[in-house]
Symmetry: C2
Subunit: 305 residues, 2 copies
Amino acid sequence: MTTFVFGHKSPDTDSTGSPLIWEWFLNHTGTDASAKLLGEPNTEAAFMLERWNLAKPEIIDNVADGQPCVIVDTNNPAELPANINGADVQGIIDHHKLVGGLETAGPIEITIRPLACTATIMHDLMGKHAGCMPENIKGAMLSCILSDTLEFRSPTTTDTDRALAEKLAGELGINIAEYASELFAAKSDVSAFSAAELLRMDSKEYEVEGVKFRVSVLETTSPKMVLDRTAEIMEAMPAVAGEDKVNEVLLFVVDILNEEATMLIPNDLSKRVAEKSFGANVTGNTVVLPGIMSRKKQIIPSLKV
Amino acid sequence: MTTFVFGHKSPDTDSTGSPLIWEWFLNHTGTDASAKLLGEPNTEAAFMLERWNLAKPEIIDNVADGQPCVIVDTNNPAELPANINGADVQGIIDHHKLVGGLETAGPIEITIRPLACTATIMHDLMGKHAGCMPENIKGAMLSCILSDTLEFRSPTTTDTDRALAEKLAGELGINIAEYASELFAAKSDVSAFSAAELLRMDSKEYEVEGVKFRVSVLETTSPKMVLDRTAEIMEAMPAVAGEDKVNEVLLFVVDILNEEATMLIPNDLSKRVAEKSFGANVTGNTVVLPGIMSRKKQIIPSLKV
């Protein structure tokens, strides 16, 4: 029975590329595997697929009982198919905090490491087989690392991520600065999306002292493209919060090149969050948070209400 | 701040030896670490400590807020200090199924592998540093593997566990059969324990269709020593179940040498469990289950009510 490999819902580059990387590795080492997606890849991930001639994996919305699966880039049941605990989960490869809620029938292979990128962990797990990766798989791996580290600007970046990206770029004859610009331009092209889609594009739910947040991030080299739509986005926030059963949507527009985030301030709660969490001095309907790039390492651990 | 390394409550050989192995590794690689125990080691673990001149780690019953910890041989909060989610858990090395319930503030190092023994996973994680292990750490590692695999008889045994044990025994000049006999004799010497202590010595809670079980195992080369006390043990079961807030205690006396388990049948529920789970034909107050050696691989996955 073919093993499905998939990442989280609303797949970004790492959750699109890592399933393809691991699909290659499993097939290479004798396990019949197939990468899947739990939704339409974002614009950056779609760019990666096209750039490296990788076929877009099939999009699935649930898994059958007993379906062999390897989960990558998440361990959070909320970001996985509803029936995930009915599937035969055989492995998890991830770089997020342990959330709890996933249960397995027996002991399985779980590797979670505090690296910037799932693909970096996979390279390590492959051992000598990594030397057999074809160009398109190396290209996907490089894309995942540059995306997750924001070209090494994110504080999640480790020496291991950086060294691997530089090695892969060398082997592929890729100029990292140029290629990262192409990736980020693709990620920044969000003109086709509605305000509600922008709020859910790269978003995690997180609860602080009983208050449920949807913590949304938009990483972009063109913050103006999003911030010009501030009024429209703020108007969409209450409906998104209501539909997704959270108390509040927080949106951080991360300016990749200037290494800062702009947080939208639609109401008193978000104003208080900005002041208590980041020591911000809020006067208008947005506030700039210098140096804030990473939800995982900076925003979530700071969040106070 | 010193990193504490500990396994589960009611420590067996793997949960006593693995903290010492990882304490050595962390100190060897520059992290100040100290092995701890969450209870008195069992008789086999105590034998291992004495045989290899290892000082018994300090027994602790809770951890302070922010205490750096590495958890080994479990990922189950029920088997850990009450304040474990307040501690600074930095890593988990385990070979049990993912239970859920542990949460970490950020991404940490988690390695779970379906191997028989935590110590085997540690050897793999150490890489080239494994070559620097002193004799007593090698001795602890060998003891953990022989204990958890019941000298390679348990179906949890993998080629990796076996090859490592054979390599270590060779380096230490240890005859595996002789040393395993000494270990199992130590484990089998349970004469000093009350019936309630026997029921809690090696026990995991497990729920099937709303019925909560304490699934207790006694691995022994002298099953008669335990089974002679069947009446006394069955009498103690309801009180233990009541105190530990489970519906029923199941006891499996695993005969290491004859590779079978004897299950105690104090009432209709345990009779039904034996019949539905193992196809047993129950006539008296005990029933022999041929080939059953492993709670993890055979008993828990089969359990039906």
